[in-house]
Amino acid sequence: GAGVSQSPRYKVAKRGQDVALRCDPISGHVSLFWYQQALGQGPEFLTYFQNEAQLDKSGLPSDRFFAERPEGSVSTLKIQRTQQEDSAVYLCASSLGWTGGNIQYFGAGTRLSVL
């Protein structure tokens, strides 16, 4: 596709449910990032992949958060036993290279609401 695609666009979960958020990066992009954006705040880094390798997961808020990118393309962010504080927009971004001098292209995000 032409850009980064995320699905679903909106997800409502009951507290305690597991959710899976999908990101389809721009074809050929080596790097993939996940960010969490709370209402009225800037995006906050969660985790980073270079191809299929998860090189940085320092931003994941708890062990309920898990991300994978098994074939170096599509990535899934999974949140287990969702809590109300997990409500946020989850953004995925991809970039062609793996260094800081590469532009990140963002998807539209998945808005997660935990009731």
């Binding site: 800037g42 995006p43 906050e44 970039s95 260094t99 001098g101 532009i103």
Partner: protein, 114 residues
């Protein structure tokens, strides 16, 4: 740890007014600097970037930003705003580890009155 501070949370301007949005970062090493914009209902998109060279960079839609290393600043400017510039603006930096991980400011909401 790196951090980014945007001074203005909400700015209201009339069309044709000049704009300056402040951004300061904390990191003493080499940095890459970005301004992203999010128009209502749309995804984040790059407005402009600074990697190296001329500290005055020009972006899309008439925006520019100046990197002042001594002040750790990367302020965004536009001489004459339009109603269509109504959006949220985010300053971001990466540097430590050079992995591409972005640290964002909290954003500035710009409202331009026609």
């Amino acid at each position: 740890a790196q951090s980014v501070s945007q001074h203005n949370h909400h700015v209201i301007l009339s069309e044709a007014a000049s704009l300056e949005l402040g951004c300061n970062y904390s990191y003493g090493g080499t940095v890459n600097l970005f301004w992203y914009v999010q128009y209502p209902g749309q995804h984040l998109q790059l407005l402009l970037k600074y990697f190296s060279g001329d500290p005055l960079v020009k972006g899309i839609k008439g925006f520019e930003a100046e990197f002042i290393k001594s002040k750790f600043s990367f302020n965004l400017r536009k001489p004459s705003v339009q109603w269509s510039d109504t959006a949220e603006y985010f300053c971001a930096v990466n540097g430590a580890g050079n992995t591409g991980k972005l640290i964002f400011g909290q954003g500035t909401t710009l409202q331009v009155k026609p």
